[in-house]
């Protein structure tokens, strides 16, 4: 104890050194070291299986581990008894929406139950409960059974129950996964408030890289190891470069030309996004332009890379990612790429008992278009897909898929589409090739063409090396590519993907998207996919947002962002220190919805220059140093939060 006090007056709340945890033969955590300082929000970021949950459970004292040491509040966690000593000061919320709650109990009963477990005195309980319920806007639902809450509300209730004994350290395992954007915003606002008012320390994990900027410091985890650790800026500095974005009408051609020089390249909607390992923007632009000489290129821009880019660069450094050449040329005997409308929904409605899961949803997807359906868990995305694929009859409305009417020709639709379902649902006790053969035969591929068809989709999805392996032995990313291959084996014109990349690491996701772009651009396949990764939504040509069964937006990502900037204003990114008083000052002055992002603040502004000047004067008047105020492109999450709130306001007004 004395020793840590000598190092700094603020000893870390959590200190992890060389942590190792194995589950039978599987290594979950492989020598992780990190330290969480008091009063900071520390992030653990990584895909499924990176070791986040094991690490958090070990810190919370609910998981035994084999090697290394963990100290929480200077107490070494090496036994059950030792963990018991600090458990009163820790709040732990495990992964999964409301999994630690009791579905039959009401909101209030759940809170009371946890308060009793934690021996919170009656008098204190009443005031804390009132404060937390108000903060989470759950006070209206005190008597509602937990099972009737939406996903976002369940998660907020989980947070309230975790906080009822006023812990000094909160450990939250993927609190925002599958939660709608508004609840997610609420969640971060609550965390910010707790940080400010009570100085709590938070260890939070997430699978969303775009949430990384919310953290003061973070660790990128992959395969049980720390790839990088520190403030977001430090991680970005570890992978210096420039992000060049451009629009080229001949998109595939441009991609082919750039790919050999810059492996980190992707098609994002109609644009191309390429990472150039060159810090100077001008030089980077020049290199890209030189390679694209002769092609029509416009709307070129250069910007600093995002954390996702940095993560991918770091991952590539860590493990030489094998690159399979997988550009599959069109065959001459292929039917020409289809044209026209591939999927059409007109006023689709579906009721379950007394609950309307999907309400008057209309949209259309053209051949060769990648259409994204976004929304939280329970928003109705999967129900829409089930109706369109003919699994579920609609209560009302109409639709056509691949030229067949979904009300009468469900059978024809099933033969013409490919479908990749939410949870991986191929046969894990069979090999890759056996799975492919099975689905090829089910779709009626004849004996003579079976091998050729399979070879083709194997090449396209780059799974040639694992053809004779059992699926159970394959990592997530490759399994998803196999699922895609199985869905493509009969050459469908329309492809449905239900959250295909959940839990896949960023490199795996990027490769998956490369294949999708190829399918859409070269073969003219229409792709409808659902996702809850906002960063992934950017890749779609068009986006539709579903909220509570209704479609509340439907446009290209750029148009959606433009509309937001017109309606709500621009996003100003403020770097100021100290950041918490700055946030308080902005809130007190009623400046456009300030939000904390790690050590920065975001504010919405209609008149950029005037607002910028006002902020400077305001903050400097309060003794806050303003380093920088820059204009930031709004994210899709900003768009959706705005849309959902506008919809809620309109409904409340009626």
């Amino acid at each position: 104890m004395g020793k840590t006090a000598l190092v700094s007056d603020a000893a870390p709340v959590v200190r992890v050194e060389g942590l190792r945890k194995r589950y039978r033969k599987q290594t979950a955590v492989d020598g992780v070291s990190l330290a969480v300082q008091p009063g900071e929000i520390y992030g653990l970021i990584g895909p499924d299986g990176a070791g986040k949950s094991s690490l958090m459970k070990a810190v919370a004292g609910v998981l035994a581990f084999e090697g290394g040491r963990i100290e929480v509040f200077d107490q070494r966690i090496d036994s059950e008894a030792a963990a018991e000593k600090v458990k009163g000061r820790i709040g732990f919320m495990p992964q999964g929406l409301g999994l630690n709650l009791y579905p039959e109990l009401s909101v209030e009963e759940n809170i009371d139950f946890f308060a009793e477990l934690r021996e919170v005195p009656q008098a204190m309980l009443a005031t804390r409960k009132a404060r937390l319920l108000a903060m989470t806007r759950l006070d209206r639902f005190r008597d509602r059974p937990m099972k009737q809450l939406s996903g976002g509300m369940k998660q907020k209730l989980g947070l309230v129950c975790t906080l009822i004994h006023e812990p000094e350290l909160i450990v939250l395992d993927e609190p925002t996964t599958g939660v709608d954007p508004v609840s997610r915003r609420d969640f971060w606002a609550i965390l910010t408030q707790l940080l400010r008012e009570r100085g709590v320390t938070a260890l939070v994990s997430t699978a969303y890289l775009d949430e990384a900027e919310r953290f003061a410091r973070l660790a990128l985890l992959h395969g049980g190891r720390v790839l990088a650790e520190g403030p977001p800026q430090a991680i970005l500095n570890a992978a210096p470069g420039t992000l060049v974005e451009l629009a080229a009408p001949a998109q595939m051609e441009a991609l082919e030309r750039l790919k050999p020089h810059f492996p980190d390249i992707e098609a994002v909607g109609g644009r191309i996004r390429v990472f150039v390992p060159d810090g100077a923007h001008a030089a980077a632009l020049e290199r890209v332009h030189a390679l694209l000489d002769g092609l029509e290129v416009h709307e070129t821009s250069a910007s600093p890379p995002t954390l996702e880019d940095a993560f991918i660069i770091l991952l590539r450094r860590e493990q030489a990612v094998e690159e399979e050449q997988r550009t599959v040329a069109r065959r001459t005997d292929d039917p020409p790429p289809a044209d026209g409308v591939a999927i059409e929904a007109r006023g689709l409605t579906r009721d379950f008992d007394h609950f309307r899961a999907v309400d008057q949803v209309s949209f259309s997807v053209r051949q060769g278009e990648i259409f994204g359906l976004l929304g939280a868990n329970g928003a109705g995305k999967t129900t829409v897909i089930k109706m369109l694929t003919g699994i579920l009859p609609p209560t009302g409305g109409a639709g056509a898929v691949a030229g067949a009417d979904m009300r009468h020709a469900g059978w024809a639709i099933k033969e013409r589409i490919g479908y990749v379902s939410q949870a991986f649902s191929l046969y894990q006790d069979m090999t890759v090739r056996e799975n492919l053969r099975l689905f090829a035969r089910i779709y009626g591929v004849t004996r003579q063409h079976l091998d050729a068809r399979i070879r083709r989709v194997v090449e396209l999805t780059g799974i040639g090396k694992v053809c004779d392996e059992l699926v159970a032995r394959l990592p997530m990313g490759i399994r998803q590519r196999l699922a895609l291959a199985c869905a493509l084996v009969h050459g469908p014109r329309v492809l449905f993907l239900d959250e295909p990349t959940s839990g896949v690491d960023p490199i795996g996701r990027r490769r998956f998207w490369e294949i999708l772009v190829h399918l859409a651009r070269v073969d003219g396949v229409a792709i409808l996919l659902t996702t809850h990764y906002m960063s992934e939504a950017e890749h779609c040509d068009r986006l539709a947002l579903m909220h509570a069964g209704q479609l509340i937006a439907d446009d290209t990502p750029l148009a959606l962002k433009d509309a937001l900037q017109r309606e709500a204003g621009q996003v100003l990114d403020i770097a100021a220190a100290p950041v918490l008083p700055a946030l308080q000052a902005l809130e007190a002055a009623g400046m456009g919805q300030p939000a904390l992002f790690g050590r920065r603040l975001h504010v919405l502004a209609q008149d950029v220059d005037a607002t910028r000047a006002r902020i400077r004067t305001l903050l400097e008047g309060k003794g806050v140093t303003v380093h920088d105020i820059t204009l930031k492109m709004p994210s899709l999450e900003d768009v959706f939060v705005h849309r959902i709130l506008a919809r809620e306001r309109a409904e409340a007004g009626r």
């Binding site: 005997d333 292929d334 699994i391 033969e415 649902s425 046969y427 006790d429 069979m430 009626g444």
Partner: protein, 389 residues
């Protein structure tokens, strides 16, 4: 893109092509499930083999004697309790010890010979010996009691003859009723014929419920059914291959069991037509699979399916005559036996294999099996289609 000629166009051809693909898939999956393969092999081979060795015979039942007489006569009586039925367990000093041995399972029979036993016999006075039998297992207890009384009765008879001064040959002059047995179908009354066949038929029942239930519930548990539902497969195309594949496996197991265990190890006669037997077995396994499919619609995982299967199996076996002869059932239950498909199957199994009977005799059992089977299968398919259709 797929060109039109790459896809099968004939409707029947396509149906069969899909059917073949799905059946193959079931067989591959079954083959990869080591535990299930082991269970199948164990039940068909080892379990039936054990059934042939652990019949309900009185074998080496331990006899403990309290001989208060210690005479030549008492020793002769004791000596008559011989293997293979009985085994001498020694003497005890008092009756209490003998009873304790019964309590602890140290003895099955306690023979208590009173003092003056020889004296009474020689003086021509009636005398009694006490036999205490542990009838916790009623069958064994019953056998031990009746064999003991037979031995003692014979001894008394011999003693009486001796006392009359007659030799055994003098019996010819004594009026006596001799019963002459003719045992048909299993002339040596070998348990090793009856028990393994009975067991085999029960194993076939277990398998024809469990295997399709496991195959269907596994799809549900792992979510693979979702993927199948979006393919152009009808629910019948999903479930029929499961039933067909599992029936094939059951026929294979039955053949192995008949050939290796019943015929190989126990010289089972196999009198009737094997073709008829396998046809009936296929019909039985196929239709009983309906119960498995139904279970799969209720159960959420393999453990639940197994428990439900036991729930269905117990009355089916109980009402089949495999464990209790139909004649021993109370009237109500005897009628209920006609509702157990296993009852008809056992009738036919014994009829064909032991008695060499053909359809001209067994047509009523076949009719019963067919009607019941069709009902069960139809019900299972109906429930399955309602859930996954």
């Amino acid at each position: 893109m797929m060109t039109p000629n790459e896809r099968m166009t004939s409707r029947l051809g396509l149906w069969l092509w899909r059917f073949w693909a799905m059946t193959l898939k079931e067989l591959i999956q079954l083959g990869r499930d080591g535990l299930l393969v082991f269970a199948i092999a164990y039940l068909f081979l080892f379990d039936t083999y054990m059934a042939g060795n652990v019949g309900m015979n009185l074998n080496n039942a331990v006899v403990v004697v309290h001989d208060a007489d210690q005479s030549a006569a008492s020793r002769e009586l004791i000596y008559r309790f011989q293997p293979p039925y009985f085994k001498q367990g020694g003497e005890v000093a008092d009756v209490r010890t003998g009873q304790r041995l019964l309590d602890t399972g140290g003895a099955l029979v306690v023979l208590d010979i009173p003092p003056r036993f020889e004296h009474d016999l020689l003086t021509g006075r009636p005398t009694a010996v006490q036999v205490q039998v542990d009838a916790a297992n009623t069958v064994l207890g019953f056998l031990a009691a009746s064999y003991s009384s037979q031995i003692i009765g014979q001894y008394g008879f011999d003693q009486a003859l001796a006392r009359l001064g007659q030799s055994a040959s003098a019996l010819e002059n004594v009026p006596i009723v001799q019963s002459e047995h003719r045992v048909w179908y299993n002339p040596n009354q070998k348990d090793a014929w009856f028990m393994p066949l009975s067991e085999l038929l029960v194993v076939i029942t277990i398998m024809s419920i469990m295997l399709p239930a496991a195959a269907a519930v596994r799809e549900k548990e792992r979510g693979t059914i979702e993927q199948l539902l979006v393919t152009p497969l009808s629910s019948l195309q999903i479930l029929l291959p499961k039933v067909v594949a599992m029936t094939l496996v059951i026929l294979l197991g039955t053949a192995a069991s008949l050939g290796l265990v019943l015929h190989g190890a126990f010289d089972f006669p196999m009198k009737g037509s094997l073709t008829l037997f396998f046809t009936v077995t296929a019909l039985y396994a196929f239709t009983t699979a309906g119960l498995g499919l139904y279970i799969a619609t209720i159960a959420r995982n393999l453990a639940q399916a197994a428990l439900l299967a036991i729930l269905v199996l117990m009355p089916m076996i109980f009402l089949s005559g495999a464990w209790t002869p139909p004649e021993a059932m109370p009237a109500g239950l005897r009628q209920a036996m006609y509702l157990s498909p296993l009852y008809h199957f056992i009738e036919m199994g014994y009829g064909i294999l032991l008695k060499g009977a053909g359809l001209e005799v067994l047509w009523d059992s076949l009719l019963g099996l067919t009607l019941l089977g069709a009902g069960i299968f139809g019900f299972g398919v109906h429930r399955f289609r309602r859930q996954f259709g």
